[in-house]
């Protein structure tokens, strides 16, 4: 069925380019999803017809308009930001548009919306119109004229090179003053005093100006302005000073991206390389990204940042990254954020990116302990990471590397109360612990001193490392777990260890059917796993109830019951319900849910929920005998087929929105199926006591 779709011409348009870009992805997905719905039954004709109409509306009305809007972001967002106005476009179509400033707000709702817009596009307007209150000594009189010239040049489409150059000179002077003035070092740390807060607001505006200059620099390649930005960023550190810059930076990068997509003057490849090169060279922008990680909600920015990292390695510029504090400081958090997102996790398998994550977070120079640790982590741990990256193969982890990592852990355990653990240290340690977690787990008794015995692979004498008391170790891991990235890395490592050990145990059971007490053996494996998770859970102030750890764990596919099943262990040799009772509560202890129907729809919890549900369903899908043992004989074969289809689809790598949608379908199906619902709840509520 077709429908006539009218496309009215807008007289006034206000929009948020970032949200509209996200809306585009969502609309395309919705159109595809609703377009796939069909049923050859006359009783369904009306419903199918409505679905077709919705598809038509999305494809012929929504998406063309979204594309029209995004086509002009590169100019209108940029220009509007300079005037502290929401984006305003009059009477446009895909071939022409005329920017116009939004008129007077006629209602409270409009005023509120504009205030929201102004906040979203926090920009340099105060700097362009009046002297900032607390920065007048920074040569405002010099700054005023070139800013005015720049504004006029941009509005009238004139040459902006000259005012930019004048501004750069002044900004260079301002940045130098900022760096040399020791009082500014306090800005980021003493935000409780009103005068500092006001000064910080003014500094935010300074950053906004610089960010916008960086945007202008795309057209007139201008590394000096962005270099000033980097220096000023370095002077004020990360954190609050960047807060209000985030939105305008996202706009800025969108401007760059849009420009690279639409510019016809250069081949696509060289344009992309140009942007990558520009951002790699721009420590300030990376700093903003790292301090405003929520910007990475934008998939384009994830691609961009991941591309920057890959590009950096490809160009063999690791040396420069290592020796450029703004760049190296920024890459660590970005790397962690990318890793913590679906799709970015695959990067963890890349030795190059793992190494970048390690060298990406330098610790403060001058501190002897940290300097030593940095050297150890940068060199020794890189070796562990290399081994870690290849642990899927038969490569044995060198004893010296394991001892080195445990020594670092011991050192940290002794000093953790006197040191404020830097994220770089905790992340590096979390990565480095991967190869030795298996050694550590059996020794984590909750009383007395933890002594780890390492067994060399070459038959040499065992080596013992005394780590300290269990309570001290708990505290150390608690500090590590306060950092989200470290938490996720630990989760991945723990998941990998659990998977490896379970697989080894399953293989041993398979090859030794005469084993007299297989369940006792399985339980000993789970006891070790449980010790590890208990240690990590006992730490103080764990980040967001350890959700990042849970995500890492789930990513590692540490659903050990599935591993047992995947190895075709005869069901009769292992009481599967016992395995389930042992396994899933261990996983779900970090989720804290009461009902399977309350599984969350969004965020990290949703990821874990999807892994849990699909894995639990996966177990009996192919095994009629097991279904009978689990009391699922009443569920029809047709229902199992449908579950299998949706489980297969959900397990495939997809964008979160798709997984959420499939989870919703799965949840709806479970509600209609009391037997399956009961099965999942019984799995979830197993005691797990060992």
């Amino acid at each position: 069925m077709t429908s006539s779709i009218s496309r009215p011409v807008d007289t006034l348009m206000m929009f948020d380019p970032i949200r509209v870009r996200a809306l585009q992805e969502r609309t395309e997905y919705c159109a595809e999803a609703i377009g796939r719905i069909s049923l050859p039954d006359p009783a369904a004709d009306h419903a199918i017809s409505i679905c077709r109409q919705i598809t038509s509306t999305l494809n012929e009305m929504w998406l063309p308009m979204i594309r029209d809007v995004l086509a002009m972001v590169s100019f209108s967002a940029y220009e509007s930001a300079f005037h502290n106005q929401p984006i305003s476009v009059q009477a446009y179509d895909s071939s022409r548009f005329a920017p116009r400033w939004a008129g007077r707000a006629r209602s409270a709702a409009m005023r509120r919306e504009r205030a929201l817009r102004a906040a979203q596009f926090s920009c340099a307007a105060p700097w362009l119109k009046r002297a900032p209150r607390h920065l007048t000594r920074w040569t405002w009189s010099e700054l005023k004229q070139p800013l005015r010239d720049l504004r006029v040049a941009i509005r009238q489409g004139g040459d902006i090179t000259k005012p930019l150059r004048a501004l750069e000179q002044i900004l260079h002077k301002m940045a130098s003053e900022a760096i040399s003035d020791p009082s500014h070092a306090l800005l980021s740390a003493t935000s409780h005093r009103p005068e500092h807060q006001e000064a910080q607001t003014a500094v935010n505006e300074l950053f906004s100006v610089l960010a916008l200059l960086g945007g202008a620099g795309l057209h007139n390649v201008n590394h000096d302005a962005t270099d000033q930005f980097s220096r000023a960023s370095q002077a004020f550190g990360s954190g609050g000073a960047y807060g209000s810059v985030g939105a305008s930076t996202a706009s800025l990068i969108n401007v760059w991206m849009s420009h690279s997509e639409t510019a016809a003057s250069a081949p696509a490849g060289s344009r992309n390389e140009g942007i990558l090169d520009k951002i790699v060279r721009n420590g300030g922008l990376l700093n903003i990204l790292s301090a405003n990680l929520e910007l990475l909600e934008n998939y384009q920015l994830i691609d961009l940042a991941a591309g920057v990292l890959e590009e950096t390695e490809r160009q063999k510029s690791a040396f420069r990254v290592r020796n450029d504090p703004p760049v190296s400081y920024a890459i660590g958090p970005i790397m962690g954020e990318i890793l913590s997102r679906e799709g970015g996790v695959a990067l963890m398998n890349s030795f190059a990116t793992a190494r970048l994550a390690l060298i990406g977070d330098p610790v403060a120079p001058g501190d002897e302990f940290r300097a030593t640790l940095r050297a150890a982590l940068g060199e020794g741990t890189a070796q562990s990471v290399a081994l870690n990256a290849h642990r899927g193969s038969d490569t044995a982890v060198d004893l010296a590397a394991r001892v080195e990592v445990l020594d670092l852990l011991r050192l940290l355990t002794e000093e953790v109360e006197t040191l404020k653990l830097h994220p770089s240290v905790s992340r590096s340690l979390a990565v480095a612990l991967g190869p030795i977690l298996g050694d550590l787990l059996p020794h984590l008794e909750q009383t007395g001193t933890v002594i780890v015995t390492l067994l060399p692979t070459d038959g040499a004498a065992p080596h013992q490392v005394t780590l300290g008391s269990y309570q001290d170790l708990t505290r150390t891991f608690g500090h590590i777990m306060q950092d989200r990235t470290s938490q996720m890395v630990l989760g991945m490592n723990m998941g990998q260890v659990i998977t490896d050990r379970s697989r080894a145990a399953a293989e041993l059971l398979r090859d030794n059917p005469q084993l007299s007490d297989p369940m006792r053996f399985v339980e000993s494996v789970y006891a070790d796993n449980r010790r590890g998770i208990t240690l990590l859970n006992n730490g103080p102030k764990a980040y967001e109830a350890n959700l990042a750890f849970a995500l890492g764990l789930s990513i590692s596919r540490s659903i050990t019951a599935v591993n047992f099943m995947s190895l075709a262990i005869p069901v009769s040799s292992l009481p599967i319900s016992r395995i389930l009772n042992l396994t899933f509560p261990m996983l779900l202890s970090v989720l804290g849910l009461d009902q399977i129907t309350e599984l969350p729809s969004y965020g990290l919890e949703s990821d874990l929920a999807i892994v849990f549900s699909t894995s639990a369903l996966r177990i009996p899908i192919d095994n009629p005998d097991l279904r009978q043992r689990l009391g699922l004989v009443e569920v029809s074969a047709d229902t199992w087929d449908r579950y299998e289809a949706i489980v297969n689809e959900t397990e495939q790598g997809e964008v979160p929105a798709v997984r959420e949608a499939k989870m919703s379908i799965l949840r709806a199906m479970l509600r209609q199926d009391p037997a399956l619902h009961g099965y999942l709840n019984s799995v979830r509520s197993g005691s797990g006591d060992l």
Binding site: S6, R7, P8, V9, D10, T11, L12, M13, M14, F15, D16, R19, V20, A22, L23, R26, T27, Y29, C30, A31, A33, I34, I37, L39, D41, A43, A44, H46, A47, I50, C51, Q53, I54, T57, L58, M61, W62, M65, V69, E113, L116, A657, E660, A661, S664, I665, A668, M669, Q672
Partner: protein, 105 residues
């Protein structure tokens, strides 16, 4: 106990219609307007987009409800057919019981 093929077909259709209703109601498009509010874009054309989709979503919800009702009616019909078949079978059996043993030989 046997189920006539007509009732099985009705139950299958009812099942499919329920699945269809669930797919429509769980479709991500039902949530799309939340991501296209005034904080995302605002203009007469954007408002027209929102209004058209809101209308169609409301109709789609009604259509899904109707599907569930039709499915319910089909199940009821299937049940009636099965009950009728059971009643017919009982009558046949009782008719057989009324026959004398010699008539089976």
């Amino acid at each position: 106990m046997f189920a006539p093929s007509e009732s099985a077909a009705l139950r299958l259709r009812a099942h499919n219609l329920r699945s269809l209703a669930a797919r429509i109601l769980q479709s991500p498009v039902m949530d799309l307007l939340r991501h296209a509010d005034l904080t995302t874009w605002n203009s007469p054309r954007a408002e027209a987009c929102r209004a058209r989709l809101a209308t169609q979503i409301a109709i789609a919800r009604q259509a899904a409800d109707e599907l569930l009702l039709v499915a319910q009616r089909m199940d009821q019909q299937a049940l009636e057919i099965e009950l009728a078949a059971i009643a017919a079978g009982t009558a046949l059996n009782s008719q057989h019981h009324n026959l004398g043993p010699e008539e089976f030989i």
